[in-house]
């Protein structure tokens, strides 16, 4: 057997490929940076539903919102405290981004950390990023 060198090189390359994903992730920041509440949201004090529910349910709420707006033609949400919201991701003062007007420091921080990439922004726009 005079292929020893070749085999060892092969094994090393194989092992490298095997552990590459772990090595690759070593350098990345996995630290969670708290999302920043915008001044406007601070002034409003309350979200659509209580914060803890919002954390886990905002995707479902948005899903219901878009169906209600597009299919039922209703655009106003009245929460259990009787407060009204515009059922929109980014249109109007009282929409998600209308109040959380710092998408990059709020929505994106969480999503980047959790590796969530909502495809919504392929169509929906952040008023801050366009004129």
């Amino acid at each position: 057997m005079n292929d020893k060198k070749l085999i060892i090189t092969g094994v090393i390359i194989f092992i490298f490929i095997l552990i590459f994903p772990f090595l690759y992730n070593l350098g990345g920041t996995t630290e969670f940076i708290d999302p920043v509440l915008s001044e406007k949201a601070k002034a409003a004090k309350f979200c659509v539903v209580p914060k803890e529910d919002m954390k886990v349910e905002h995707m479902q709420i948005l899903d219901v919102w878009r169906d209600t707006v597009v299919r039922k033609g209703e655009r106003v949400y009245v929460n259990s405290d009787g407060k009204k919201f515009t059922m929109s991701l980014s249109t109007g003062e009282n929409s998600c981004l209308g109040c959380h007007n710092n998408k990059a420091e709020f929505c994106d921080r969480c999503h980047d950390y959790a590796s969530v990439r909502p495809y919504c922004w392929d169509c929906h726009t952040d008023p801050k990023e366009i004129k």
């Binding site: 299919r71 655009r75 949400y77 009245v78 259990s80 405290d81 726009t125 004129k131």
Partner: protein, 268 residues
């Protein structure tokens, strides 16, 4: 020891009952703080049983009069214009919610051998007809296109899978497909406006009778910009502007013979 089994069952039964009740009680308390959330229309929303449009073509003199309205519509809905990119016109890639058409193309079934000279060269403004019997709705396999209660043939972009059956079904060519990323053309122009989302590659789009404006008490943008050349109202209300116009003028509709019952009428 003798009746321990009996005792156990009693206790188990009682606690099961108790647990069930506790759940209900907790839920009752939790929801007791407020009312159930609900959704509704804006107070100033414009509503109708059947939205319709009457276009008075006598008030459109030239290409410019029509183009002005097209531009307004395309601007507020972020409709991309690939021609701007300096590419020669590729019809397949063109996105249009409204466009200009000649009489003979718009009214193929009324294109008699000898046609009135004035009408023959009039610029006709055409758009989605919001048909009473929309063939696109029947063709759509995901129900992304549907007819609302107020007659608007609407699109749910979230459900569109880009199959283009609706485009094949529409006899008016009112629908466009995004073969390319529409934002490529919008960004260059730096003209993306807020208020309406853009679209993405792979979905179909068309006129929505400005549903997003009706919802906040505004008439469609083309109607507003038309200086009275376009009327918009409830076709089922005998007192509405559109019904009065239809009663006092002779009007035509596109491809009447198809049985689609368009909601857009033209005074010629």
């Amino acid at each position: 020891m003798e009746n321990s089994r009996r005792k156990f069952l009693k206790v188990a039964g009682a606690s099961a009952l108790g647990m069930g009740m506790a759940g209900t009680a907790v839920r009752a308390i939790a929801s007791g703080s407020g009312n159930k959330p609900k959704t509704m229309k804006n107070d100033n929303a414009l509503t109708a049983k059947h939205w319709g449009m009457v276009i008075d073509t006598r008030k459109f003199k030239s290409h410019k009069d029509v183009q002005k309205l097209i531009d307004v519509c395309h601007k507020i809905h972020n409709v991309p214009d690939f021609e701007y990119l300096g590419e020669h016109k590729q019809q397949m890639h063109e996105i249009k919610w409204m466009w200009e058409e000649e009489y003979k193309h718009a009214f193929t079934d009324l294109n008699y051998k000898y046609v009135n000279k004035r009408v023959e060269h009039l610029p006709f403004l055409v758009l989605c007809n919001h048909c009473e019997n929309p063939p696109c709705v029947k063709a759509c396999p995901t129900k992304a296109t549907f007819k609302r209660d107020d007659g608007i043939v609407s699109m749910d972009f979230h459900r569109c899978i880009g199959c283009r059956f609706c485009m094949a079904a529409c006899p008016y060519g009112s629908r466009s497909f995004n073969f390319r990323d529409p934002r490529a053309a919008l960004n260059l122009k730096e003209e993306t406006v807020s208020g309406f989302p853009t679209r993405m590659k792979g979905v179909v789009e068309k006129c929505n009778f400005c549903a997003e404006r009706l919802a906040i008490g505004k008439k469609p943008a083309c109607v507003e910009a038309s200086n009275g050349a376009i009327a918009f109202g409830d076709l089922e209300d005998p007192e509405s502007d559109v019904r009065k116009l239809l009663e006092s003028n002779y009007t035509i509709r596109r491809k009447q013979g198809m049985g689609t019952e368009p909601s857009v009428y033209y005074i010629v």
